[in-house]
């Protein structure tokens, strides 16, 4: 009799096409998401070898990384290299017959928001994309991770991936979150506790009461940043909330197939007594609203804290902290709430969904921004439309925010939305690396509500003051 299995074990086992003696597996891929930046060389490879896309019906493409978020982009993109990449994706999608959402389509958006929104992402699936934040889809109990361009080509040609199994890691968030604490604070706090390499070699399953209590959107925020913790993927077992979210979406199963799917999905949980190679437990009550101070996502502190000194660390981290403080223009001992902000960015695949916009708008309602610029970039055209319908767009605009079209925008600044050198940004995205949001730009990561609070006061702010 097979022993108890983790959720990861179950999904893995259901997708093994072939296993070599040394444990190298050929894993079947149910969904392949594609965007314009990491795919051109893969399609070029197919053309050069005369290969086809094996399962175009399981392949979904959308341009998101370098599209501008201002009107007129469906007619013309100024930056020539960006335009060539987007045009290449248009052509590749057409030539190879894959599902496609061009910028002119209201369903266009960030690939990790479009997949779940359209019902492409379902529990128990394997999902890959040439993008590290594919981890987002793990919120559905799907095994989802980023791959490189050579692997994109491999999946296009074979619908499989050569993989070795990772180890199992459990991250349990017990109890309840305190007011003002969100999914973003959970995921940042986990990285703060385990470090950016803490999950290397593992697939993380997030569990515990505080995770159960999250909405699907919050769960996506948590899994999204599994990669910042170094993990191959993050997973959350599907439950009634998952099934409710999926039901009725354009590509979700219907009728008898829905019933069959549901029967299988309900078996997707970690069995009692299954083995985890590493376990991290955090009390939900201990998590505070947090921000990052440095240039690594592990540089996390409660907003009530102060900028650390390099001597607070050891090993290679001492040098790294020195460099971070210098880059970020911060002094040890400075209170985090004294750090003045120039720009606020609300969006990205971490926090660009409707609930994120609602959370920010709730803080902003009737207030004005005290920063130089602030922008909201909805994660998809549909999120944007819904926010307009709910009156959120007007709240942002009245507060002084720019209301943009969907895309990755200032999360990585491959498009015209960028920070200038020294400009300091409160961002709801997932990476605070040097230059990530523009050369010399300084990024503090936080939740949408915290970013909204910073927009109103002009400095990093404890959102609980507004509650």
């Amino acid at each position: 009799m097979p022993g108890p299995k983790t959720l990861y074990d179950k999904i893995w086992d259901a997708h093994v096409v072939h296993e070599d003696a040394d444990g190298t597996c050929l894993l079947y891929i149910d969904r392949h998401l594609v965007h314009e930046v990491t795919s051109p060389q893969a399609f070029e490879g197919l053309r050069m070898t005369g290969r086809k896309v094996r399962a175009p019906e399981k392949t979904i493409a959308v341009p998101d990384h370098n599209v501008p978020t201002t009107p007129g982009r469906d007619k013309h993109i100024d930056n020539e290299e960006s335009r060539i990449q987007v045009e290449a994706l248009d052509k590749n999608a057409r030539d190879f017959g894959i599902n496609y959402y061009p910028v002119s389509d209201i369903r266009q958006g960030i690939v990790h928001i479009v997949g779940p929104e359209q019902g492409w992402t379902l529990p128990g699936m394997t999902v890959v994309c040439g993008d590290s934040h594919t981890a987002t889809h793990g919120a559905f109990g799907a095994l989802a991770h980023g791959i490189g361009t050579s692997e994109v080509e491999h999946v296009l040609a074979t619908q499989t991936l050569i993989q070795k199994k990772s180890k199992n890691m459990k991250v349990e968030i017990t109890g309840h979150l305190r007011p003002g604490v969100t999914a973003k604070d959970i995921t940042l706090s986990v990285i703060g506790a385990t470090g950016t390499a803490g999950g290397t070699g593992y697939v993380i399953e997030y569990c515990g009461q505080a995770i159960r209590d999250l909405s699907m959107e919050g769960r996506m925020t948590v899994c999204n940043m599994a990669i910042e913790g170094g993990a191959r993927a993050g997973l959350i077992a599907p439950d009634e909330k998952t099934f409710d979210y999926v039901k009725g979406r354009p590509h979700a199963p219907k009728g008898a197939q829905w019933e069959a799917a549901l029967t299988w999905w309900k078996t997707l949980f970690t069995d009692e007594g299954a083995h985890f190679d590493k376990v991290v437990t955090i009390r939900g009550e201990d998590i505070a609203p947090v921000v990052t101070w440095g240039t690594s996502p592990e540089d996390v502190l409660p907003i009530t804290g102060a900028v650390p000194a390099p001597e607070d660390f050891h090993g290679g981290k001492v040098e790294a902290a020195k460099r971070s403080l210098d880059y970020m223009g911060l002094t040890p001992g400075q209170k985090l709430t004294d750090i003045a902000i120039d720009t606020v960015f609300i969006g990205s695949c971490t926090n660009g969904r409707i609930e994120d916009l609602r959370a920010a708008a709730a803080i902003l309602k009737g207030k004005k921004i005290a920063v130089k610029r602030a922008m909201v970039v909805p994660g998809s055209g549909l999120v944007r439309a819904q926010a307009e319908e709910e009156g959120l767009a007007q709240i942002f605009i009245d507060a002084g925010f720019e209301w943009r079209l969907a895309g990755c925008s200032m999360c990585l600044a491959m498009n015209p939305d960028q920070l200038s050198p020294g400009e300091r940004c409160a961002a709801t995205s997932n990476r605070n690396f040097e230059g990530r949001q523009g050369r010399g730009g300084r990024t503090h990561l936080m939740s949408p509500a915290m970013a909204a609070a910073a927009a109103i006061t002009g400095h990093l702010t404890d959102v609980r003051e507004f509650m």
């Binding site: 096409v17 190298t24 791959i147 050579s150 692997e151 799917a261 790294a320 230059g435 050369r439």
Partner: protein, 201 residues
């Protein structure tokens, strides 16, 4: 893909931890639709001033390291974005081997697909190699994938582990896709079974 058997070359020391793929190749260079030509922008923001002039202190700008083929780096090398442009840029510059205590997962895999060998060694071994790399261009390090060893210029040797399948592909310069397509009947049969058991996919 070029084979990797044994490499003797100059090693550049980069003791920084958490060198991420945004540092290795900043996003403004990801707009290419080709794999080649990225070497001049490897570590762009650490290597050049805003006006395009070289930053003197940066290791790869120093005469001793301009022809480096090996990098010895701090923990968690290659974290962050999945961009394969990072190994493409390293390769285009001429780097064929990176040595660290740990690598981020996706970057590690991407290296093997491009003929670059990532070597994981314990902290004390990496420290010895870092010291050796600091000696500059007169000190040549040797990396043998066949023997799974790294040897310093003065003959100290360290053994490393590597996955046998990955080693096999790299030593022989094999294309993964070709290998997988040899198993196409297994894929066909998986698809037939899955169409029955999970028809909604």
């Amino acid at each position: 893909m070029d084979k990797f058997t044994t490499l003797t070359g100059i090693a550049a020391p980069m003791p920084l931890v958490n060198i991420d793929t945004d540092m290795i190749i900043p996003k403004q260079f990801l707009k290419t639709i080709k794999r080649s030509g990225l070497g001049k922008n490897l570590f762009d923001e650490m290597r050049y001033n805003a006006d395009g002039s070289e930053i003197e202190g940066f290791v790869l700008n120093q005469p001793a390291y301009r022809d480096a083929q090996i990098l010895v780096a701090g923990d968690n090398f290659g974290c962050g974005s999945s961009r394969e442009h990072a190994p493409w840029a390293l390769l285009d510059f001429g780097i064929r081997c990176v040595i660290s205590t740990s690598f981020a997962d996706i970057f590690y895999n991407n290296c093997f697909k491009n003929g670059i060998l990532p070597v994981v060694l314990p902290q004390d071994a990496v420290e010895v190699l870092m010291e050796d790399a600091r000696k500059g261009s007169n000190a040549r390090m040797t990396v043998s994938l066949e023997d799974q060893t790294v040897t310093t210029s003065d003959g100290r040797s360290f053994g490393f582990e590597v996955d046998p399948f990955k080693k096999h592909c790299l030593v022989n310069g094999l294309d993964d896709i070709g290998l997988t397509l040899e198993k196409v009947t297994a894929i066909d049969s998986y698809e037939r079974t899955a169409a029955q058991s999970r028809p909604w996919v």
